[in-house]
Symmetry: C3
Subunit: 154 residues, 3 copies
């Protein structure tokens, strides 16, 4: 599965959205050498923003869907960082996933798997990354998940 | 606005403090190649430490001031990493901002904008960075905000 | 104390475990150039997993032991990343430590010192790192501490 990440995405039914713009005095990504640092992405979808708090008002499965939405937005930013050619992506290096949860919720990894599984499916070996999965007491706009990422490009 | 970041800082009324020392078996920054990783900075100011919890006992505006104080301390560390010459800073690459907040507070981005807006004002294009803004259940010493950063220098 | 980190570890009575495997569609570490990004490590020990919430049901000293356990697992991953030769480690660059705590707990740095002190003792100057120490509302499996790290190798 080398190259042609876009067609893999199409096969699994995912179309990358236009890269969401940053909303303030920061930018969606910064490139240093062959590394792209992507700002924390939120689970915005065509059906709206996925909000909620794990352990309170949404299931782990719903959280995993939110994580997948974040990962799709991360890839959209990487594509923009690559001047529109996602096949310049070498690999996903690192994700940090923040899960909006109650103090007694312990399935953060299963939530962030929504992102990790999607990236493995879409990108194969290039999608396998280091990661951390932790809870945040709260997240912007009440979103369920926020994920930032580091990517290597060519 | 290339070069002369120090004079820009003076124009906006900011004097960088001496770089706060780390308080334990770690260091304020580590340089690897042209990248500086700066330890999480706290909102220490000449008037003391800005403590509080967003959503409970301080306003978003007060939180943004705390974020600005963290950003000033980040720049002080970068200046130290540059051997005292801040103009060796190429750009701010990435910030991760942790906001001490209640579980239902959702204005983390507006808080961290206090740092982002300051960096854009002080450094122009070089100040524009990728970032994440999330809540922490609690922070050291009860501080309102903690921000870590990655910077490119020459 | 250049080289021979393994014998230093032996002197302080620490044997690195086999590197824990990742439990999902991600990997324990990713190498990019001379940098290793290690996934968030949990405080798994030969006596089991250290769980608990600081400020509620465990002491800061117990939290520091959990942080040390995370650091040992980080080094185990770095050793694996170095093909089994820990002396290829150049230095610890950055740690981010997440402490499972109540909303009013403020000794995150003292907890993460359990990792920082261990690394300084085991690795000397090479063990001194930039770091952040923050609270997480909750952590996977109820663990007390999770720490991710960035390392430089040769």
């Amino acid at each position: 599965m080398s190259g042609n990440f876009e067609s893999n995405l199409a096969k699994i039914g995912v179309t990358l959205p236009d890269a969401p713009a940053a909303a303030a005095n920061y930018v969606p990504y910064v490139i240093v050498g062959d590394i792209v640092h992507v700002s924390g992405q939120i689970p915005g979808t065509m059906d709206g923003l996925i909000t909620g708090k794990l352990g309170a008002d949404m299931t782990t499965e719903e959280g995993a869907e939110a994580a997948k939405a974040c990962a799709i937005n991360l890839l959209a930013q990487v594509k923009a960082a690559c001047g529109g050619d996602l096949d310049r992506l070498v690999r996903v290096v690192k994700l940090t996933g923040f899960v909006n949860s109650t103090a007694d919720y312990t399935e953060q990894p299963q939530v962030i798997n929504g992102a990790s599984n999607f990236l493995a499916e879409a990108l194969g070996e290039a999608g396998k990354h280091a990661r951390s999965a932790v809870s945040a007491a709260a997240l912007p706009l009440g979103i369920a998940v926020e994920i930032e990422g580091i990517f290597q490009i060519k």
